[in-house]
Each structure stands twice: as C-alpha cells, then as structure tokens.
Assembly symmetry: C2
Homo-oligomer: 564 residues x 2
C-alpha cells in the first residue's frame, strides 16, 4: 500500500462504476457500481411526465443518475476499501459519448427546470439516441457540397450519434429548448463541471464527436450557417473553443462534490474522457504501433500515430485525442459480441441450450467448445459481419449480414465459428487500411468483456491477422484509465504522474497469456480472407447493391404498413 491512490469513475450505459487504484503498482483495491435509477429512457419520460412517449430511436438519460453515482458509489468504495480520503490524490472520469445535454449558464440541466421537464429535448441524449439521422444527413450533405476538409478525417461521414447532429435535432424540433440552452455540453464535461464548479471541454469528445481539431478548430461559422442560419454561432454561443488535452487538471473537487463523495475538497480532477479512448493507456499503450481493441458488443480500435494520416473509414483521427502529443486513430466494427448474442438467442436449436443447462455453462460456452474442434475452412462457411451495418472502413449503415456456404449438413457451432471468423476478418480489413496508408500496426492488445469470455475468438483474431494478441490485465480498463488520468491531473509532486506515459508504465499491465498465430491456420485464413475481401468489396463498394435495395424495399413495406 503506497498511500497514493487515484479514483476512476466509468459512467456506462446502464450504471456507473467507481474503482480505486494504487498509483504505485496499479492494483485495483475495490470497485462499486451504481445502477442508474432511470437507466436508458427510451419509451417514456420518468414520472410525473410518463405520459410523454418517445419516438423509436430515442434514447435519453437522467443527469441526476450521474450525480447519484457520485453520491452512492464513491462513499461505498471508500467504505469498502477503508482508504483514507486524504490519500486519494486524483480523480478521473469517462462517459459514453457522444452523450450530451442542454444546460443553463450555471450548469443546471434544462430537464431539471420544472417548466421544461416534460420536454424530451431537455434531457440527456444518450450515445445510442439515433433519432437525429435527418440532421446527420444534412450535416454530411452540406459538408460534401462545400468540400469541407474535415470530412475525410471522419471516414467521409458524420454519425447521427454525434454532437452536432444531436444539437441540430434540438434546434429543428424544439427551438424553444435550443433557445433556453445557454450551454450544449458533453455529459462527460458536465460531470467534471459538477465535480469542480468549472466548465471545461476535453480534447477527446471535442475531437471525435464534435469535429474539432487542434490545428483547425471547429467547422467554420459559415458552415454552421449553411446548416441553419440560427446555428451559425453555436460554438461561440453555447460551447467553447477552449479545449483541454487529456490529463489536464480541470480543477479541484468542490465543497459540494466533496460532500457527495466523501473525498477531500481540492482533490485534483482531470478533464473528462471517453470509455474506449481512456482504456488505451490502461491497456499499456501510449506509443504508436500497437493497436488496442476494446472488444464487447462492438469493437473500437484505437491506434496512435506520430503523424496525421487519412485512413479510409475511420471514426476519426484526433490530435491529443487519446494521448497528448500524438494522433489518435479510432476505427470500429458496429457489431461483434452483439452478433454472437443474436446468434445464441435467435438461431441455436434446443439441443445446445439443453447441453448448456446440463453442463452448467452458458450457451456460448457450449458453442465455443464445439466450434473450437473445427479446423479453419472445415465448415465451408463464410460470413460478412454486417448485422448492424459497417462502420470501418465502408461507413455504411445500409449494409447487412451475409452467410454463404450453407448446406443441409451445416450445424450451429459451424455458423458460430464462421461469425467469430467474420469479425476477425473485419478487423483485418481495418488493419490493412492502416498499413496501406503507412500507419504502422505491430502489436495487438485486447481489452473489454469479450477476451476473457471467448478464448477461441482471441485465437482466431491472432490467426486471421497473423499477429500476436495480448490482453490487458485489468477487467475494467475504462475505470483504470480514468484513475490514471486522475493521477496525471494530480501530478508527480502530489504523488501522481506528470504524463499519461508515466502513469501507464507504472499502473497498467498486460495479462500473462499471449495468443500466438498458428501458421497453418493463418494459411487457410489467408484464403478465406481473400474471399471475404472479394465479397466485402462486391457488396460494400457498389458491385452488387442487393443489401441496400433489400433495405429500401423493407423500409417501403414497413412504412406502407404503418400508413395502411
């Protein structure tokens, strides 16, 4: 016990998790979780406004759930670990993004104002709020027409999940809320504001979600005006051009927040961060060349580079976006664990569920055990892993899943393995896109929920990419990463660190296990990957647009149903 501890809080989709970490060795002393009272608000507003129903694709949150996390999880953690608050030197947080809200000048969320509480647009729009697609379309169309130079940094497409699409939706649909919003702010920055009484904006959410770059700033006012004349001054009126690099001390813990948490007033608080990005140094990576894969329902790929580069289909490349001084590349696969979960839930016959019950394991365990007995290529199956469209590198939500090679002898574990392989092929396409642009990808480190649950998946990723995979030792890399940035905000003088590189080398570790590519498997996978790429390009680059036309027919039928 070093007597120097940092607190990291990871605000997830359904709950907030607080972790206390020893700065000397990175040991995680304890973790507490606060499940949000209102969780994801996607059907109706909380009482007494539960008469207000939400449209499909809406997803809101209650900002008070974040405050309750501070009030509940942190005191519980201190009690559980018995750590003296005086020995907690820094605090860092991360939040899902883009998750944003409108507030008053003093930070009061508009949804806490009695007269606005019944308006859905006054609430926090969660990352997976997908109702701003028309605004995203407009953002992309206007950007393309004007030849905006920032568009290629985002793979040529701004997502409906991101900041300006959500902000513009407020303006479009609830101009009175837009007018009352003194500030439009990421939930991450808003929580830091609550902790410190100081409004800051971090370089990660600004860069990846709000089209900001260190060298070029935000899009021009002329561009915003082209979207809507009332939107021209959105940055200067409701946001800020002062963007802080990660690890910056946002301020000291306020008296009020000290009261909530049981920590000491003045404790260093780092500017906010995002779950995937903050996990990178927690997975030991602070230098170019090693890709971090945050593997869960989807995969987020983070890679650092010393130079900027335009790589096809990125979610973004942001200077200071992950580690100050470097360019952080983010790529992504929209569905990974989600596909396996879909398959297990919707396409596996009873015998495997019965086997799972008999063996006291879960359905994935049974499928994995059987799939592991197969050799690459043995099933004759190949899939395109586009069950939720494709982010990197095609950036096309209209694409859909494909399975080929089916026969009357095809069994569930064979399809399961084909799905695992398809997600690995998807990652290899991303790796190849980096290599083609001259961005080095040497090492691979995985973190997130999937690696520990599915060893076969990890071996397949190693075999398919021909690269050794390590796995982060921590099972809660976002919270660990946040704690590390908290220690950086405190600085070396107070027992923390002067850089995230120093914090990472002291506090982050890899697990002992390595997944080493099997060269015989790799050879077969090279052949299958060639087929994957051919189908990828055929269906993804215009050779055969069946997927898009099927979606168009589907939409038309469903809409005519709704009308009829």
């Amino acid at each position: 016990m070093s007597g120097r501890y940092a607190l990291g809080i990871d605000f997830g989709t359904e709950s907030g998790r607080a972790v206390l970490v020893d700065c000397a060795e990175g040991r995680e002393l304890g973790a507490t979780v606060y499940p949000y009272r209102h969780g994801v608000i996607d059907e109706r507003l909380p009482a007494p406004h539960d008469g207000v129903e939400l449209e499909p694709d809406w997803a809101l949150q209650d900002p008070e759930d974040y405050v309750r996390t501070l009030q509940e999880a942190v005191p519980a953690l201190l009690a559980e670990t018995g750590i003296d608050p005086a020995e907690v030197i820094g605090i860092g947080i991360d939040v899902t993004a883009c998750t944003m809200l409108p507030t008053r000048d003093d930070g009061t969320p508009l949804c806490l104002l009695e007269d606005l509480r019944g308006n859905p647009h006054a609430w926090v729009k969660l990352w997976k709020h997908h109702a701003a697609q028309p605004e995203a379309d407009r953002i992309n169309q206007v950007a393309a027409e004007r030849g905006e130079t920032w568009l290629p940094r985002y793979g040529g497409k701004i997502s409906s999940e991101w900041f300006f699409a959500k902000a513009l939706q407020i303006l479009d649909e609830a101009p009175e809320i837009y007018a009352r919003a003194d500030r439009l702010i990421e939930a991450a920055d808003w929580i830091v504001w609550q902790l410190t009484d100081t409004e800051t904006r971090n370089s990660c959410t600004a860069g990846y979600k709000a089209i900001w770059s260190k060298s070029e700033g935000f899009p021009s006012n002329a561009y915003f005006a082209a979207l809507d004349p009332r939107f021209e001054h959105v940055v200067d009126e409701k946001m800020s051009r002062a963007i802080s690099p990660l690890g910056t001390r946002a301020g000291g813990l306020s008296e009020q927040a000290a009261g909530w948490t049981g920590l000491r007033p003045g404790t260093a608080v780092a500017v906010a961060n995002v779950d995937a990005h903050v996990a990178t140094p927690a997975a030991t990576v602070t230098e170019p060349g090693t890709m971090v894969l945050i593997m869960g329902t989807s995969i987020c790929h983070i890679l650092l580079g010393a130079e900027p580069a335009l790589v096809e289909g990125m979610c973004g490349v942001v200077e200071d976006g992950v580690v100050p001084g470097l360019f952080g590349f983010e790529a992504g696969q929209t569905a990974v664990g989600d596909i396996f979960a879909w398959f297990a839930e919707d396409a596996v016959p009873p015998e495997y569920h019965e086997a799972a019950a008999r063996e006291g394991t879960d359905i994935h365990g049974v499928l994995e055990a059987d799939a592991a007995k197969l050799r690459p290529g043995e099933s004759g199956l190949l899939a395109l892993d586009w069950w939720n469209g494709n982010r990197s590198i095609l950036v096309d939500a209209e694409l859909s899943g494909l399975l080929v090679g089916l026969s009357l002898a095809t069994k569930a574990p064979e399809i399961y393995r084909a799905l695992l392989e398809a997600t690995a092929f998807g990652t290899r396409v991303i790796v190849d896109a980096f290599l083609e642009t001259g961005v080095a990808v040497d090492g691979m480190v995985a973190c997130g929920g999937l690696p520990e649950k599915n060893r076969l998946l990890m071996q397949i990723f190693a075999d398919v990419t021909g690269r050794e995979f390590a796995v982060a030792a921590s099972k809660q890399t976002p919270a660990l990463g946040s704690a590390m940035f908290g220690a950086v905000a405190a600085g070396a003088k107070l027992g923390g660190f002067d850089s995230i590189e120093d914090a990472s080398s002291e506090m982050a570790r890899l697990g002992d296990e390595r997944y080493v590519p099997n060269s015989a498997n790799k050879a077969v996978y090279d052949e299958l990957y060639a087929e994957y790429v051919r189908l990828h390009d055929l269906f993804g680059r215009g050779g055969n647009d069946a997927m898009k036309r099927l979606r168009a027919v589907q939409r038309r039928v469903i809409e005519s149903d709704a009308v009829g």
Copy 2:
C-alpha cells in the same frame, strides 16, 4: 362401385405402398404400406454379411423387399377393401430411379447368389447411392470431348445417380460382378419382370436415366468404348434396345406372382414407371402447357411439350417419357422441404419449439403461422436456395446456400419465410427457362407431401410465379398414376382405358382449392426476384466463385484431416 379396379404400387425409398383405385371415378378404395425389412442399406450389408461395411455415399437396397411388398401389401389391401380379385383389371408400378441391379439371365439378382451375397456391388444400387461420382465425371468428360449430341438434353451433365455411372462403377470396382451380370436393369423393370416372367424396359427410366431417346437410341458403342473398352457393348450384352412406351402391357400376371399377391393370373401388368413422372397424369396433366410440381424434400418439375426443345439445365427431355406421343421435360430443385427441415432442426431457438409443444402443433406450424404474418420484403432477407447445390438450371452441385439481409433484429420466422420464398424464386427461374426457349407454361399443379402441409408455401409460389396453383386431389399421386397405367395396360375392352389421357380424365382430379396470385405481393416479389436472379447469376455463372472455392478449401481441410 364400378366393378373395375386397378392396382398401383409405389415402391419408395423406405417402403412400398399399394393402392386400389376405382377405374370409373378414381376413388381410392384403400392403401397398405410395407416398410422394407432392410430399408436403405448404407452402413453394412445385412447379416450374415454384416462384417462388410459400406463406404460413405453408398446406398443399397434388398430386391427381396420389393417381392415382400408384393407378398404383404397386396393381399392385405385385397382383404382390407374386400374387392374381388377378378374385378382387378390391371396393375401398374413405379419405383424410385435410377435404382438398378445386376441379375442372371433368368432375373435372379446377383445378391441372391450365395457366393456373391457378400459383395456390395451385387446388390441394388438405390437412387441416392452417390459413390459413382468418378464414373459420372468420366461420362461427362468423355461426352464433352467427343461432342456427344445427347449431352444438352440432360442440361450438359449426367448425374452420378444415373444408370451408366452406376454400371460403370460396378465395372471399375468389381469387374467379376460385372462379368457375372447377364443383365443390368432398373429395379422398376426388374419388378415387372417378377410380376410377368417377361423382361421389359420402359421409356421413362430408359430416357431419363439411361440416355436413351426414341429417335436416337442409346449413345453409340464407340462412346461406351471410349469410357472403357470392356463397356463397349454394355447395351447389347446386358440391357436391351427394345424400349416400351408407358402404358404398354408388359404381360399377364404370372402364376407365381398371382400366388404372391392373391390376384388372378393373366391380369394385365403395365411396363414400369418412375414416381415423379407417373404422378403427372394422376395430377390431371396429359397435355402440354401445365407444369406439375412434385413437392417434397426436393421438387421435380414435369412439363409436356409437343416438340423437342433444349431448355437450360433440364434433368432430361424424353419423347414418350411421361405421356406417349409427347416430349416430357423434367427439371428439378435438389432441396426444398429438406431446407425447411434443416432450418427447423438446426437453426430455430427453443422458444418456437416450446410454443409448438404448448399449442400441440409441430415446429413448422409455428414458424408458418408467424411467417404468414409478414409481408413480402418486410424482413429485408433474401436467400439462394442451394443448400444441396443446384440442379435446374445451373446443374452445379458445388453451389451452396446463401442468406443476405441479416440484422440484429432478424427472427427465425423471417428466415423461414425467406427460405420458402427462395425455393419459389428457384422454381420461377425454371419457368423462365422454359419460356425463354418457347415452351409454354400456363397452368401449375402441385402434388406431393408439401402442398397440404404448408399453405403459406403454396401462396408464395403463386405470388412469386404470378400463376394460379391447383393441387392434385390425391395424396398418393404416384400409386394412383401407376394404377391408371395399369388400367391402360388392361385396355378399354377389359374395362380399362385405351390411353393415359382417357384414364386421367376419368380417374384423376384436382382439389377444390386454388392459390391465386396476389398482385400487390407479386409486385414486391418481382423486385426481390430481380435481386435473386442477380445473385443467382453472380454466384452461379462465374461472376464470383466463392461457393466453389469454399467447397474446395473445405474438401482439402477434411481430406488432410483424414490423412493426418
């Protein structure tokens, strides 16, 4: 009760079925089934030779099972119906084909000879014996090299299931059996031989399975010599060039067969027939223009034409092959009910099985009910129905099943419906191939096991093809058709008919139900069919050979497994 009855016996894969039919009105008076004692012999020979194991792909039968069917099912049928044997005027039979065996000059199967009984090649090779692929490859290669004009009549490819492939396998692998075989004969013709003491050969199996045509006869001796010098005179040495049109009286019932069956000696026996083909007049069709679909695990499409034509991917076009005086076109889809059964067994999660148990229905009933609530195009899914390759019109066993449009929201009934639709699209491709060659396809009549089990399937077939579907009234069209040919063999003078057309108009009926195309559904299906055809041509005609390459990888991996 007219006092004029005909007996039809349908020798299937697992059992033989005898049906007695009133010639005046076609009423089926009763049916009895004899389940073969040895069923399909595909693992080891029957005792005492059960030490002889069969290779994969082998499938044999015991000719004594056919005799036992005569001895068991027919007397039971007479007893059950109480019909006076003197009032049974004619007998017809049909057998699966090509199902063939080697015999002595007197018709004794070689497998009944003590010294040969332990040799698998002495037994009956069942239609689904698939071990003669190397011989089929040779047959096709040599035919292509020599530019044999008969090859296009069979879609450019002779199947390993057919007569000369099986005969050549005997020669290749068991020349001593080939030498001892005085006769090589279809099981259908062999059974008629047993009934009449007369060896005949029918135009249906000769034409569809043994490359015979009324105008050109068999392939030349030079061709057979090119396959193997010992094979040069196979037709003249072991077969016959005397081919009888369907409905011909093969002879009168022998004393011995009369003893087996309880029928009167001398009763007219028709030359043999094949299950799918004999079902055609039983489904009321004896004229050009109406397609008969025999729908079960697979679909066999039979269409009559007044003129010969080369239609892409036929299983065969044979003059006198179905109805004397007309050209019978046969096309086929290799897997239909088999795909639905695969899906129900291997890809449907427990909740639907539980619902089936709860509702006291089967899993297909549950899936059909849910699938019927969907509108065409609503699922966004499309399949290529090639789970067992493609016969018509691509004639390519290397093709495999494909499913596109999958999303995280895809549910089992949606996939089920997409599979039903895919088989309908497959039939529409066949219909289009006829139309493009100028062969008329106006009416559609279905028979077989599927139409009564799956009404949604029938409606989809109507909607996809834009044609009204009727369904044969009889649930046992092969046995009915055989009885009808038995009545033709008897002739009008004895109370039967002078032609199959006459027999059909008296004895065959359609059910009352009609499946009428819904024009709104048809319009959506036209769009989906266009996508189907694009994918069909892309994967089936060389645009993207992923399916074949995946099979090649699969074969290599499995073979190296077997070696390793």
